[in-house]
């Protein structure tokens, strides 16, 4: 708790801005039904389609006459959770994989790292497309596909941090006291490695949302008529005269990505002892 308080006191304005943006989107995602004037799927009005932004439809209407504002707000539910889940899965798998490789070292490390390099050697978007296409295009398969291509980043970062942290005397001291390997990893190494990884996770949140939107844009993420930002941008591309259809979901993606990056930057500055004022 203390750390969180110190973090908030930290003068970084950008960090707070990022926090406001991301928490704002999470609140919107949770309370979407209360905030939207129309239903995102059922309130279709073919007669009133392609309406420009107005007092009635703040972000205009799309090709089926649905309210873009409502769809953007509802879209946050899927986009935000897809990004978060992808990052969380990769984070968990990466920590486990990289932690073991870095801690055990030797042949185990070599084999595990060659495996992660193998995954990384594929072009990410194409591999995700292949996996999503093979499993069938729906939300959970797309998230799975993204997690599969995403975890090696975390594994490699975790490994390199663990290798440097395990050289510390307090790890040796713990071994001399007779602690088990699991206990050493969990009590000594992990708490001292988590910082840079948390930074990477926040920075990645934006990327994951972008990529998921990319998959949806290509028709592999969510299927219409479910509102999702990437899919909505893709909707508007064919009818570019009606700029509002693509622009507003695009701005939503942009805001989350940049908010997450601000948080990540702030976190990194805070964790870097040279940037941190003594408490």
């Amino acid at each position: 708790m203390n750390t969180v308080k110190q973090l908030l006191k930290h003068k970084n304005f950008m960090f707070k801005l990022g926090l406001v943006i991301c928490i704002g989107w999470i609140v919107i995602a949770i309370f979407a039904p209360l905030l939207t004037p129309y239903h995102p799927i059922n309130d279709q009005n073919i007669v009133g389609r392609f309406q420009p932004p107005s007092a009635e439809h703040w972000f205009g209407t799309d090709s089926l006459g649905r309210d873009v504002f409502s769809r953007v707000l509802y879209g946050s539910r899927i986009s935000m959770s897809a990004g978060l889940i992808t990052v969380l899965i990769s984070f968990g798998v990466g920590i486990l994989f990289g932690g073991i490789a870095g801690y055990v070292g030797g042949v185990v490390d070599d084999v595990m790292m060659r495996f992660s390099e193998m995954v990384q050697s594929f072009p990410p978007l194409i591999l995700a497309m292949v996996i999503a296409a093979a499993l069938g295009p729906n939300i959970s398969n797309s998230i799975l596909a993204m997690a599969i291509i995403w975890w090696p980043n975390y594994a490699r970062l975790t490994r390199s941090i663990v290798i440097s942290v395990k050289e510390n005397d307090y790890v040796t001291a713990s071994r001399i006291l007779g602690a088990s390997h699991l206990r050493i990893l969990y009590r000594e190494i992990l708490p001292n490695s988590i910082g840079p990884m948390a930074v990477m996770a926040t920075l990645d949140l934006g990327n994951a949302i972008l990529m998921f939107s990319g998959l949806s844009f290509l028709g592999l993420g969510v299927q219409p008529p479910v509102p999702e930002w990437g899919a909505m941008v893709s909707d508007g591309v064919l009818t570019f005269n009606y700029w509002w259809i693509s622009t507003f979901p695009g701005l939503a993606i942009f805001s989350v990505a940049i908010g997450a990056n601000f948080i990540g930057d702030g976190l990194r500055d805070y964790l870097d002892p040279r940037m941190r004022k003594r408490a």
Binding site: D169, Y170, A173, R175, I176, L177
Partner: protein, 328 residues
């Protein structure tokens, strides 16, 4: 100090495989055939320059690495191949004090949590009150105010952190404590305090120390017997008194002549300083023959071919050098 042996090392060897450039592998002979005994209640000093394997030897005695060769007998029991539960039991009997007090404590844990670790690991003092009482007892022993228990390591000075390190090492009531340069990272004024503390604790708890250091004055002050290491081998082993009065091995002579002497205008002659040329050879490719012959002022032809063994030249004084070889 008694005549009972606490730890006996027989031809202990500790090699590591290191990667060189272009993926080649080389063997690093960190400890190469060390034989010595440490008696109960004594302070055994281990000196030598950086990279000579003295820390590795200390850690080998703690069974931190799988032993390459040789045998370690601790309190009458062969510990060189212990595993699992037996190794965990051995962990209670020998502990270590580290050189760098700032890296020996987990920066994310309060001192109280750090000092509770040994008890949690070994399932001792299971209630919170019992554990608390024992921790306070330890603090008292090492002269640490109980107010520090609520602090994080970065909120303490080096000397205080070192006291925490000592308290942690004492927590399980060990018999042997490996002191790996325990004072070289501290301010001079704190050094004396810590050394006195270690000496007091030794008397109180009947501890045995293996004192690793490159500071010859400190070693002279607190050790009864001293081993001089060079490139993974013991080159000379004697009582502290004899070693300083009558150093025999050319390497020891050079080391001792390097201790600064204050010219106080007295009649005492200032000894000639012996300056060694060259660097410590790489432990991945130690010289053939005597390890020291590349830098030895007295090197003979024989030194480059044969390896001398540790021989007792006077009672309790062992030297590994052909200059003193007794012809039978």
């Amino acid at each position: 100090m008694s005549n009972e042996v606490l730890l006996q090392a027989q031809d202990v060897r500790q090699y590591f495989t290191v990667k060189k450039e272009r993926g080649q592998k080389a063997t690093l002979y960190a400890v190469d055939g060390v034989t010595l005994s440490i008696y109960k209640g004594e302070t055994f000093g281990l000196v030598g320059e950086s990279g000579c394997g003295k820390s590795t030897l200390g850690k080998t005695f703690l069974r931190l690495y799988p032993l390459t060769g040789g045998k370690i007998v601790f309190d009458g029991k062969d510990i060189s191949r212990l595993r699992g539960k037996e190794l965990k039991e051995f962990r209670c009997k020998s502990q270590m004090i580290f050189q760098d007090p700032s890296s020996c404590l987990n920066p994310r844990r309060k001192i109280e949590v750090i000092l509770s670790e040994p008890f949690i690991i070994h399932g001792l003092y299971n209630t919170k009150e019992e554990r608390r009482r024992r921790i306070l007892e330890l603090c008292d022993m090492v002269g640490l105010s109980s107010a520090y228990l609520e602090r994080y390591p970065h909120e303490m000075s080096g000397g205080q952190k070192q006291r925490v390190g000592i308290a942690r090492a004492l927590a399980l009531n060990p018999q042997l404590i490996i002191c790996d340069e325990p004072v070289s990272a501290l301010d001079v004024s704190i050094q004396a305090q810590v050394i006195n503390l270690l000496e007091d604790l030794q008397k109180q708890l009947n501890l045995t120390y293996l004192f690793i250091s490159h500071n010859l004055s400190v070693v002279k002050h607190c050790c009864q017997r001293i081993g001089v290491m060079y490139l993974g081998k013991i080159v000379e082993l004697a009582s502290a008194e004899r070693l300083y009065q009558n150093a025999m091995h050319p390497y020891t002579q050079a080391l001792i002549s390097a201790i600064p002497v204050i010219d106080d205008g007295s009649e005492r002659p200032i000894p000639q300083q012996i300056v060694l040329s060259g660097d410590l050879p790489s432990p991945t490719s130690p010289p053939v023959g005597c390890a020291f012959h590349t830098r030895c002022p007295h090197a003979m032809e024989r030194c480059g071919k044969e390896r001398p063994t540790l021989q007792e030249v006077e009672p309790g004084h062992f030297v590994s050098c052909f200059l003193y070889e007794q012809i039978p």
